[in-house]
Amino acid sequence: MIEITSTALFGVLVSLIAFEIGLMIQRKTKKSFLNPLLLAIAIVIFILQEGNISLADYNKGGQWIAFLMAPATVALAVPLYKNFELLKKHKWPILVGIFTGCVTSIGSILLLSQVFGLGMELSVSMLPKSVTMPIALEVSKQLGGIPEITVPSVMVTGIIGAIMAPLVCRVLKINDRVAIGIAIGTTSHVLGTTKAIEMGEIEGGMSGLAIGVSGLVTVVIAPVMVTMFQYFLQL
């Protein structure tokens, strides 16, 4: 058993099969909260715990899958390129929307953490949860956060965003495809973008664009907003 699970093939296969099962369950039930990624993660964790398999063993294969995140992020340039005319035409609404979204995200997390008495360390760990993983880790580190908290925060936000997106659009009557894409990408980075791509090419392209821009905006404004917030707390 030990020899088999510590090969890279095990981690790769268990991830892919778990995801296939997740897809199958969602297709059968058609419930958006049964997100295939969420199901796949649960299935893999269950297998590791039941089979007494270490995370390190799983990661021998897992890292092969995670590696593809780099080229996949770069490939986001393609939907962006296809929708570049749209971006040029609506650059102000798009930029204002992304900026407002980032300020809202950071401000609301700082405020709610204070309300629940979470302490600054946990608060700044969650702060960049709406931006793409590599940027989020960088921002969290800069502000003195805990990376192990930042990673699940980013993941959970992405999954919630992907699940919530169709609902939010329906409830708030947002049927503007550019607005939908920007809202998804600004809120829930690459994970939300997978949903946006499903919704359509314009949504996908705008969402991909928002990942990059909101990441840049967050890098710049997060330290400033944290400093301002701490200053107001002392008053």
Binding site: A40, L68, A183
Partner: protein
Amino acid sequence: MKLLRQITIILSFAFLGEILNKLVGIPIPGNILGMFLLLLSLLTGIVKLQQIEETSRFLLDHMAVLFVPAGVGLISVIGIIKDTWWILLLIAVSTTFLVMSVTGLVVKYTRR
């Protein structure tokens, strides 16, 4: 050989991004820099869409599965958030809803 060439081009941009991040010291993650460089190259015609289209579509269509390993990593931090996980989750859900609504509405109304 076509797909091989496509993945080589895409990986080169990822690597170029890493170089700009690590060696030149631009404080933006290499992957994101790579994305912007590829966009720039597509816009200026240095790279043609046909040269990367199939591979990038494959990567984009299967993006969600790439997050499985990161998600499984959650089991290593359960100890840290044993007592506060429900607060973190509550904040995550409410702020995600808030940010998505605000961003969507702002873009929708400023486009009019």
